[in-house]
Structure formats: C-alpha cells, structure tokens
Assembly symmetry: C2
Amino acid sequence: MPIYQAPVDDAQFLLNDVFHIERYDNLPGFSDASPDVLAAVLEEAGKFCQEVLAPLNRIGDVEGCTHHADGSVTTPKGFKDAFKRLVDGGWIGISCPTEFGGQGLPTAMTQLVSEFLCSANMSFAMYSGLTQGAIAALYVHGSDAQKKAYLPNMIAGHWTGTMNLTEPHCGTDLGLLRTKAAPQADGSYEITGTKIFISAGEHDLAENIVHLVLARIEGAPEGVRGISLFVVPKFLSNGDGSLGPRNGVSCGSIEEKMGIHANSTCVMNFDGATGWLMGEANRGLNAMFVMMNEARLGVGVQGLAMSEVAYQNAAAYAKDRLQGRAISGTKFPQKAADPIIVHPDVRRSLMTIKAFNEAARALVMWTALKADVARRADDDKARMSAEDHMGLLTPVIKGVLTDQGFANAVAAQQVYGGHGYIAEHGMEQFVRDARIAMIYEGANGIQGLDLVGRKLGKDGGRAVMAFFNEVQGYIKDHAGSEALKAYVEPLGAALGHLQQATMWFMQNAPAKPDNAGAGGTDYMHLFGLVALGYMWCRMVEAAQAKLAAGADGAAARLNAKLVTGRFFMERVLPETAAHLARIKTGAASTMELPAEAF
Amino acid sequence: MPIYQAPVDDAQFLLNDVFHIERYDNLPGFSDASPDVLAAVLEEAGKFCQEVLAPLNRIGDVEGCTHHADGSVTTPKGFKDAFKRLVDGGWIGISCPTEFGGQGLPTAMTQLVSEFLCSANMSFAMYSGLTQGAIAALYVHGSDAQKKAYLPNMIAGHWTGTMNLTEPHCGTDLGLLRTKAAPQADGSYEITGTKIFISAGEHDLAENIVHLVLARIEGAPEGVRGISLFVVPKFLSNGDGSLGPRNGVSCGSIEEKMGIHANSTCVMNFDGATGWLMGEANRGLNAMFVMMNEARLGVGVQGLAMSEVAYQNAAAYAKDRLQGRAISGTKFPQKAADPIIVHPDVRRSLMTIKAFNEAARALVMWTALKADVARRADDDKARMSAEDHMGLLTPVIKGVLTDQGFANAVAAQQVYGGHGYIAEHGMEQFVRDARIAMIYEGANGIQGLDLVGRKLGKDGGRAVMAFFNEVQGYIKDHAGSEALKAYVEPLGAALGHLQQATMWFMQNAPAKPDNAGAGGTDYMHLFGLVALGYMWCRMVEAAQAKLAAGADGAAARLNAKLVTGRFFMERVLPETAAHLARIKTGAASTMELPAEAF
C-alpha cells in the first residue's frame, strides 16, 4: 500500500520562516493563529489524512461509486464514516467566517490541509473541496437569507455543495448553455435542463446537497450575458437550516472515467426543480467566477498533492529497491546490489519532483495569504493589490501545478519500473487521478488564454507590473549577496525571458490576437517557472538565515533546501529560454494549415 | 468509438519519395517489393487494422484477459477470431526468411504494419510482435534443429513467442536472476524458477507458446556472465513441428495493470520444465539482446502508434466540437460556435503531435531500412555501418518515441476536455496503453544510459561520428538552398547543441561517470530532436521536389509537409538548448543530497 506522510515541517517552515505569518496579525483571525496553534492543526490534519483517508484511497479506486435505480449514489466502503470524522473534526470550515460557525483561520491553512487531504485521497477530498467553493460563492453573492439558510450546515459539513456549469454541448463556452429558469409567483424559479460532469452531484455522505446552477431565465439575452446563478438544494431548506421536501433534481447516471473513481461524477437532471436566484439576474457568471477562482486554486493544490504523494512513494521505493551498481563505484558491497537511488537518472527524477513540490507549496502559500488580505484587510490598497496578485497567479497555479503535478506523478511511477504499471502499488492510480486536474475547472489551455488574454492587460497591466516589480526588486536587493548569487542570477535571467515574452505580446498580439493564443500555454509555464524560481530564492534565503542563527535539529532539512534550490536553478529553470523562443515565433506555422490538413 | 485510418499515403511517401526504396534493390527480397506490391500490402494491412482490430480495442480494455483455475488464460471476445485472420493473412511472417515460410519483404514493411496494428489495438499487436522478436532470436542464435522445430510454426503464426527475463527481485539488473537450469542426460535442461511481467505468457490464440527464458546453469558464475538462454515450449515439439506432451511451465496469475488489459501479463512458473540451450552457455544475454533490440525498435513504434491514433481522434474532435469563437474573428457565423480547431492552443497541440508523428515514422523507416542492410547486404562495410546506426538509434527511438508518444496521447486527450477523461471516448485508454511503452524493454532511463554509457564510446565513437557526418554533410550540401533555409539552419543549430553535449561528456564523464548518468535522459531527447529534425529536412526536400515535378492530387498533402516541418523547427526544436544547458550543469546538484534527504 502506498505510504503518505503529511509535510508538516515544510508547511511550518513556509508559514513561519519564509512568509512570516506573524506579520499578518492585523488581519481578523490571524492573531489567534499562533505558530503553536497552526502546528497543532497541521499535525492533527496530517494524522487524520495518514491514518483515516490514505488507507481508503485504493479501496475507493477499486470499488468506485454505485448509482442505484432510484437515483441514489453510494460511495465506497469506509467513505461515509471517514466523512463523518472529517465533519466532526470541523475541517471543512477551518477558514470559514466565524459568524456562520467557521473557525476563521487563515485561508493558507485550508490550502495546506487541502493538500494533505488530496495527497491521501483525492476523490474523497473533492467532496469537501467543492463544498468550500460553494460556501465562498454563497458568502460573497448570496442574500442574507440564503447565507442563513445554507452556510451553517455547509460549514459544519452536514450539507455539501456542487457547481453545475457544463452541459453536453457546452463546457468552456458557457454562452451556449440551455438550462432554463422559469420565474414563479413566489419569487423562486423552476429549473429545467441537464448538466454533466457534476462532481459530487449525488452521494450518501451528507443529508443534503446544495447545487449552484447556471441557467438562463426565460427571455434572457443569448450568450454569456443571459446567464444567472441559482441555488438548487436537493432537499428544500425551510430557511432555518432544517430539511424540507425533496426537490426535482436527480442524478441520471454516473460517468465511467479514467480515475477519481470514488468521486461521483454525475449527470444531473433538473426537472422543474425549485431554485432561487443568487446575486443579480444575468450576472451569474460573475458570481460563479468567485467559486471558480477558489476552485482553480484548489485544483492547483491537487496537482501539487498528487506530485507530493507520488514523490514520497517513489523516494521510498528508490531507497529500498536493489538493482545494479552505482556507476561511480559500488556503494553497498554487502548487499546484492545498490538501492536504485544511487543512479543519477533516478535521482534526476526525484530531485525534479522535489524541487517542484517545495516551490509549488510556497507559491500556494504566498497566494493563499494574499487571498486573506483580499478578504480581510481594512486597507483598500492592500486589498486591491492582493486581488491583483490572485487574479494573475490563479491561472498560473492552476495550469502549471496540474500540468507539472501530472508529469511528476508519471515520473514517480517510472521510478518503479514495471511495478509502477501494476495496480496494487498504487502509483498508476496517482497518475490517473492527477490527470483530471489538467482538465476540470477550465482546461489548462484556457488558463493560458485567461493569463495572456485577460489578466496581462487588465487595469493597464497593473497586476503583472506589480509582480515584475516585486521580483525585480528582490533581485536588486540581493544582487550583492554571495550566498544567494547562484539563485538570484538565474532568476534574473528567467525574469528577463518573461519580460521579453510579455513585451513581445504587447507588440505583436494587438494586431494579431492569434499570436497571443498560440503562446498562451508557453507563457503560462514561463510565468510559473519564474514564480517558482522566486519562491526558491525566498526559501533559500530563509534557510540560510535559519542556519546562520543555529538551526538545532533542522540543519539537514535546511541544507537540503540549498541543494534543491540549486538543482531547480540548474536543471528546471533553463526551460524558460525554450518557452520564449517558441512564443516569439508567433502563430504563423501554428495557424497556416487548413482544417482539412489535420 | 475512436476512429482510425492507417497512414498508407504517408508510408508510401516515405518509402518511395524520401528513402527511395528502389535504391535497395540489390538486397534479397527488395526486388520483389515494387511500389505497387508495397502499396497493396499496406492497403490490405490498413484495412484489416481498421475493420477488424480497431473495433476490438475497447472491448479488450473492458473485458481484459481471464485467468482460470487450471492455469489457462482466455483473451477477450473476438481476439481469437481476429488472430486467426492475422495468421491466415500471413502477416506475422511478412519480413521473415522465405526458407522458413516467411515472405522476405523489407523489415520496413513489418515496422509500418506494426504501427498500424498497434494504433488499432496495441494489446492485440503485442501477441504477434513478441512472436516476431522470438523469431529473430531463434533465427540468429538457434541451432539448425531448433530453427526447424520452431520457426515454421512461429512464422506461420500457429505458435507464438515470449521473452522471459524479469523476476520479482530483478528487472534491469539481470545479473541477480535466480531461475535455475539443471543439465539432463539427454542434453536438455530442467528449468525451475518464477518469471514475472511475461507479456502474452499464456493465452488461447495459438496452439503452442515458445518461451525464451533466461536462467542460470547450475554452477555457472554469478552475475550476468552466468546467464544462459533456453527455449522452453509450452508443449514440447516433436522436432518436426508437431506437438508433443505438455511441458512443466504454467501461468500462476495475471497482473492487474493500468492498461493493455487485453494482453495477458503473466507470472510464469517453471517447475522443472524441459528447456534447450539456445546459443552458447553463459552467453544468454548476448542472444537475448538480439531479441531485445528488435523489441526496442518495436516498442518505439508502439509510442508512435499511440500518438498517431490519439492524434487522429483529437483532430476529428477538434473539427467537430463547437465551442467559443476564434479570437481572430468568428469563422462560422452560421453555427452556434466555431469548431475548436480555430483556437490557437488546440492547433498548437495538434501541430505538435503531427510534427512528431510524421518525423518519427520517417526515423523508424530510416532505421528499419538499415536493419535490412545489416541483415541482408553482401558488403561488410555496409553491414557494419548499418549495425552502427541501429545500435546508436535503437535507444533513441525506444526512449524518445515512447516518452513523446505518451505525452502526445495525453495532449490529444486534453483536446477532448472533460470528455477525454470519460472511458467511452477511448482517449484515456490510449493514454493508459501508451504508458507501458516507456517502461518495458528497458525503462527509458536505461535507454539514455545505454546511449551515453555504451553506444557513444563504442568502437571509438564510430557510430556517433558517422551520424554527425551524415547530418553535417546534409546541412553543408543544402546550405545554399533558399527553399530549405528555414529548415536546415535550425537543424544546424540543434546539431551544434548535440555536438557540444557530446564533447562535454567526453571531457567530463571519464573522471566522473555520474556526469554522464545525470545527463543521459536529456542527451537521449536532444539526440532524438536532432534526428527528427533531420528527418523533417529530408521530408521537406522530397516534398519540394515532388511539388516542383507536378504533384497531381497530392499538392495539399505535400504543402502540409512544408508547414508542419516549419512548425517543428520553430516550436519543437528550440528545446535542444534547454537539454544542453541541463547536461552542462553536470551531476553535482543531482547527486549531492544524502539518501535520507529524500
């Protein structure tokens, strides 16, 4: 069975030593979050994930969900009990508003715990993750009555949430959607239509499921400007949190898919279901975007989570499996062969994954702290700049962490050789589960397009200029440091590539938008590499400072940061030049062939 | 259901226009292979694959193989009949020696047909593919009696073949193997041991299965110098091709794995089975290498095959699926949305795959023709140079075509968005099936190591110098061509990177072999890019010549070559610089951490 150990130490290093969470003490909820409290929460979460969720991961894959003739769905053995323990532990609401029963801890904590949950059992974690997204949308766009009716039960975990966007003929292009909403005399709407790919759409883990549904009010304009968001609970709420009658929404079938078998992916039929408008009519996409941004960050975390658990297993296997001798000379003459971790190519794979995971975790932390500033700070300017950061980094985190997370799961599987292809070792499940993260919540090509097509130029490029200024400023401030030279110099070169690419788009995309479209994915990855490189500089700096101050028992771990950061600079970051070269060739050869030539 | 159309036109373009197969007419078997004959064979093979094998692909995945209590294995519904048709068509022996019932056609034809078979149904194609590998080993290393006893039935397809190398504790490091061979009075051996991961080890497709088995003769030296190769048939042969009694070899179980479900991956138990030594005692690895090189080329073809079929489906979907509008302006105002092939990022994916597939097919053809020269030419020098080429290019083809073939299957799946994750569309099966090719017949890290550790320095670097001379000579010969400039110049830069990397190894690996080990995978991919780039130059040159000569109905196809080649140069080839940069950082940061740090 695969192993898993939650990276609690690394999380604390990020919170305390790299991002100095104590500096955010002016934000509501942060002052209660002392290092000790955070450490205890992380330890407890890690334990739950390791002991309860990880053992259910393969069972969930093998058993999957079962759709019954009456429309009900049963989750795999053990899931119901585990979910009850998750709910009893209060884990869903740890960063939710205290006024509705949440614990108000930093969002950064939810993201860290979410990483642990996903590493241990991604299918399971989706049930709570989607609920957190629905909570966010309700909190921002719901009326007071809606908040009162839904939030306490959702934050407690008694009710779960879903997002209902996709229809058979429309996914990315929501303007095409056909689900109808007919206004009723009592102010509610009658919702009719079919939604597909609805994760956690039906299950037996909670007493109610709150569907957030995009639909078109009768007579509304065509396209995306005629879409509204509705809250459509499985059981109607009596308004006080108690359950009313069953609503006209049901699961028609569940999909047979590549992975995440333990999460029910449902076709949902709305047969004149009762729904209530959430936010303004015809502005549903706006409200949904709140949930989607939350979800996209969460999906990025899934990519990291799968990369982390796959890495841990590959590293353990590489230390255990005896095969061949080190080319630099036998390392363990007393054994029949050396463990395969002595082989440079195995190390190359492990180091590549490790160098990504640690920086990706930092990038998520950095952005999650900005999320807290955006939601909790008093200062308008601080909130705006934090929102800029999130808007810019969300597509990068979603796209890069899931693309690379999947690639890393594949690389970790490769370390197992033939055994990696065999189901019982669990490595191939990580690959299959990780694959979905590149697709849902906006396929990664859409993330690239969002980045170059919307986020770069937004508000006159304010967000990207702020990002450049921060990284450039860091490089300048540390240009004289001998200790950081091996890190800051490559980062400077990479930032230069990113700036050149940005400039190239400014000069070449306005007249020919295909030039931006053809470079979107490369730009997203180039951006991600610079952001991860910057995280490495920050982590190395913090590790060096801690080592200089006397690291006690942590010296080995901190020294490893210095080496891993160097590996990133030498072996991962050079890719920026290739991305730039591709971007600068423009769209010509990409777009020239007629469709029939394919 | 997924579509598949065998690329017969492209195959003919390669055979006739790029590699001028008529120039090989001095080789036995080639003079019978007129363009018309080859075209007819390819058409017929394509038809069989499209109509018989492709429809069984998903059935095979869903149903898988069944292991019965008596040790027998049943293949999925339809496989037995399809295999009979393959056998009746004489497909297994098309390139086999005529003296044993083969058709003696060029090996290039077997590789092309093998691509078609794998695209249509990779699991199915493995049964015949492994048989072809066993035939090659028997033909080269078997005694006359062994050839007579086995080859006619295997070439006819009545008997299939397997390779038995791996044991639970040893895969890559065959020196550890424990299967024993005890000499018997009659000259045979009693074989005892357990082998795992034996593809096609047991099934119901043929009346007999000929296992080639590595084992250690009692008293033989430890390590790889004490390994011998044995032929161990499921049913003993009476020597005249008729079946004798059942041998003591049986399938203990079949593995549950990520993909290729319709191929039985067996644990094989040898319980004092009767085997006969093949070739010299203790020189079994040498004999097995013949089979392995054959198999490695074949596995590279599997990578290409999965990339091709995944591409065809993604292209069809991209032309059909309506979603969003072209960012350069609406293309189909009469439709609800434009087909997604208008989107630059979708095109980028399709072009990337297309540019790889066509060059990879050329690289396989080029190498397969060398295989024929190596086996059939009278001229010693020609044979030696062809063998050099094969030795050098085999790890490149195996490693690069399977790594990239898998990446392409993933990219093609991505074009489908959420639908790509759903089993019924078949895209996720391509990904799962393609995954194994990176692992078996030597995991790709081993291919990189084989290339930098063995092939580069072999015979004073004769093979690699010949490769450099050929590509360099081509670049020089065409330096003045305006028409080829956009292709030859980038190839020159890429070759420069490859030469620098080679030089760097020469200077830095002898004293520190880890420097080669840490760069092996990058070097393999760098080498592959240069080889594929060279193939593009050759193809573009041929297309230009044909266009100039009046291309009749083929102009669109030939023009597409020019554009696709340019895309390769602009968008794929720049990666060589990143590989070089990584290689030149050496092994330091890769190897520095102690094992406990992982």
